[in-house]
């Protein structure tokens, strides 16, 4: 686990951290690398990974044997991305470490959702899923939950054994799932607990960086609220109760009363142009909005060079690189044509980062 408490009291070292990040940022893979990989084979990708910064983790996968070529690549990528983020976080001190922990903690949120979604049926693959390995909570905790907690009640009890705040939040979500059988409510409890926990930890801080982190959390809340807003109106009762407070751009009132995405986004602060409802499917609309959110986060990389913006922008790029490489590996294993594969990738426009 990242020693999030150990150095929190020190003064922040944004200058040092951001200089390191900006220097490391030049190692992020460019569009041309993805194009080249897309037109190759999975074996070519394997060779590429051996020479890249994912190399040590890939060699580790080779040494431990087991698994298919695709499985090894996916594992190496997940570990590699987590190494990059955790190693960067280990350089941060004071406030910059606290704010970097928010980014890492997003991994806990993703892992929690994976566990909740796998929980109701009680049937799950033996092997653990692709965890977001940069999470603050120990991976052994998630593995243990995956292997030993088949029901939400098991999960809730196991979480209460753990001495970690996120385990408490996840345990509460398991309890909701156990009592209501409603996955949606359980996920809401998870999000709400996570946002509440971070709001509590960030309380009392009032500077440019804390406002940026609050904006980041608010925009994440908007992302959740928009996913709920896209649900059909017939689910209105549960839908309106599901909106989380504390969003950045969407007011509670607008979310509850508006039906047209154009109207929802107008004046919200988001520069996203959704188009009329019905012109695109709900999942298309949500994916575009999610991309827009990532674009915003990446754009921070070049903003305040003496603040937390650089960390936020860099983390978005590292996670996106991991997602793109994983997608490439899956596409190549299915022998997809390069053009189709590239269409699915989420690539930055040249020169914008």
């Amino acid at each position: 686990m990242i020693p999030s408490q150990k150095f929190i009291g020190e003064s922040p070292n944004y200058e040092y951290l951001n200089a390191v990040i900006r220097a490391r940022g030049t190692r992020l893979l460019g569009r041309e690398v993805f194009s080249r990989l897309a037109s190759g084979s999975l074996e070519d990708m394997e060779l590429f990974l051996l020479e890249s910064r994912y190399g040590p983790r890939y060699r580790e996968q080779l040494a431990t044997g087991g698994g298919s070529l695709l499985g090894r690549i996916e594992n190496a990528l997940a570990w590699g991305a987590a190494d990059i983020l955790r190693e960067t976080a280990s350089l941060a001190r004071g406030e910059s470490l606290l704010f970097f922990s928010v980014i890492l903690s997003l991994g806990d949120l993703h892992n929690g959702r994976i566990l909740l979604r796998a929980s109701p049926g009680g049937i799950r693959p033996k092997n653990s899923p692709a965890w977001h390995r940069y999470s603050l909570a120990d991976l052994a905790f998630y593995d243990d939950l995956w292997k030993k907690s088949a029901t939400p009640a098991d999960g809730a009890v196991r979480c209460h054994e753990e001495n970690h705040d996120f385990a408490r939040i996840l345990g509460e979500s398991y309890r909701v799932l156990h009592e209501t059988g409603d996955l949606f409510r359980a996920e809401r409890a998870l999000y709400s607990g996570w946002f509440g926990w971070w709001s509590e930890r960030l309380r009392g801080r009032n500077n440019e960086n804390s406002r940026r982190i609050e904006e980041y959390l608010g925009r994440l809340t908007d992302l959740w609220n928009f996913s709920i807003w896209l649900r059909p109106r017939k689910e209105a009762v549960s839908r309106d109760q599901a909106f989380l407070p504390g969003g950045w751009g969407f007011s509670q009132e607008a979310l509850e009363s508006l039906d047209d995405p154009d109207k929802l986004f107008a004046g919200s602060g988001w520069s996203f142009v959704p188009g009329k409802r019905g012109e695109r499917t709900r999942s298309d609309l949500f994916r575009s909005f999610q991309r827009h959110f990532y674009e915003w986060q990446k754009s921070l990389y070049r903003q305040n060079l003496l603040g937390t913006d650089v960390s936020l922008g860099y983390a978005a790029q590292v996670v996106q690189e991991w997602k793109n490489l994983s997608l490439l590996a899956v596409g190549l294993s299915l022998k997809m044509p390069a053009a189709d594969l590239e269409r699915h990738l989420f690539l930055q426009e040249e020169g914008t980062v």
Binding site: N13, E15, Y16, L17, A19, A23
Partner: protein
């Protein structure tokens, strides 16, 4: 009394830029250490960047000398 004021002015002319220089060099030095650790080839550039704020205190020193020579 007049001499004391001139001395104070000269001290401020050096002291204030010195504090500002220290602040700037601390920030640049910290960022420079991070950059050089990742990219050793940037060492020369970082030394130049680290030296630039020094001009403030040198100018302050020149002003202080001029104050003393002109009025003391």
């Amino acid at each position: 009394m007049e001499k004391a004021l001139i001395a104070l002015a000269a001290a401020l002319a050096v002291g204030i830029p010195a504090v500002a220089t220290a602040y700037a060099q601390a920030k640049i030095g910290s960022a420079g250490a991070g950059t050089v650790a990742e990219k050793p080839e940037t060492g020369g550039t970082i030394i130049i960047l680290e030296a630039i704020p020094e001009t403030m205190v040198i100018l302050g020193f020149v002003v202080a000398i001029m104050l003393i020579l002109q009025f003391a």
